[in-house]
Amino acid sequence: MASMFKPSMRIAESDICRQCLRLQTRRNLFSISTQNPKSEIRSRPLNASTAVQSSRTTQPSPRFAKSNARPFSSTHPSRAYKTVEEAKTRYKLGPFSWQAGALFLLAGAGLTIYFRYEKARMARARVAEANKGVGRPLVGGPFHLTDMHGREFTEKDLKGKYSLVYFGFTHCPDICPEELDKMAGMIDNVREKYGDVLKPVFISCDPARDTPEVMRRYLADFHKDILGMTGTWQEVKDVCRAYRVYFSTPPDVKPGQDYLVDHSIYFYLMDPEGDFVEAIGRNFTVDAASRVIGDHVADWKGRIEK
């Protein structure tokens, strides 16, 4: 850009310079005639060249410093301009240059990105903090269940990693299978990016039909990492209450009876301390949900068991 402008600038410069020379000559003539009329008029012939010299020597430029006598001061100015005009344009533009402009834009863009990132992080921290609460947790809490391998499982077993808790039942017509497929996608996405930081858990709301064996066979269809949980009717009712899950299973169903169970369809993300972080609804895509989980994992300052 700058090089493109240069030739035209030169032309303009020389044109203006001629004008300013004339001006200078006139001024010199005038000043000379008023200040010391005699000596100067006689000792020096008055022509343009002397006028130029006298006017230019006031501008300490290296070119003239060489040909002419020494400049008045021995300290060189911080920036030497070739012509008066260059100095003038410099002065007009102030400290602006393309480097300064680039730096300005870069700094601006950088700060914008940083502030956006910080804002998103603060929002997440706020959600996590708000849900953490003080005293009794809003979502989550103590429970006692049996996992699909027949082992005891309590809220303590959720600690150490982030956990993704989903409630459902194996005889679920369409929503649970869809959501569990999404869960499998989230598990893979998070594992790929952050390693083994997530413990996915599926808690049955239908203990009468969902025994460990049924859970095992059912979950094998979705993801090997998902750990199925079941329990007695009372245990399941308690865990549903703790997680604020709507629980409608009747306590006395006949064996082999065909029924559906209403339940909430949220994924509950719990942090490595076992505290509720965020609920992820059905409207989230696998990628969006993975991002939510991943962002919380990345924010976590403490240790995550891998």
Binding site: H171, P173, D174, V214, Y218, P255, A279, I280, F284
Partner: protein, 123 residues
């Protein structure tokens, strides 16, 4: 595996597991059931029937083979559930259309109604 064969009625109870539970339909069984459902619903669409529970006689008359296949592939509770859900989905669609005609703007589905949004706002 009673409900996979189209001949057996849906009243057949599911397969019991060894530890006293009942085995749920697996992926292929679910797929089969959903296909039966979709075929039945396509038939209902062709005959302009929305609610196949209320208009069961009409549905039975117009789509008897599809209904039979549907009922054969899914548990009874699933059949009822899907029929009701169809009505619900239809009503939802109508409402959305009505709202769109009135110039309503849809919310961002990723954040609308999520706990995140509620949590961020409710302070």
């Amino acid at each position: 595996m009673g409900w996979f064969s189209t001949t057996s009625p849906s009243t057949t109870s599911p397969e019991p597991s060894q530890d006293g539970g009942f085995i749920a339909p697996d992926r292929s069984a679910r797929q089969q059931c959903w296909e039966g459902r979709d075929a039945f619903f396509q038939c209902l669409d062709r005959n302009n029937i929305v609610d196949s529970v209320k208009e069961s006689d009409k549905a039975q008359k117009a789509c008897a083979p599809e209904l039979k296949a549907f009922e054969g592939a899914c548990a009874e509770s699933w059949v009822t559930y899907f029929k009701k859900r169809r009505v619900f989905e239809h009503q939802k669609e109508q409402t959305m259309k009505k709202l769109a005609a009135e110039g309503a703007q849809p919310l961002d589905p990723a954040t609308a109604g999520s706990v995140n949004a509620a949590g961020a706002k409710g302070r």
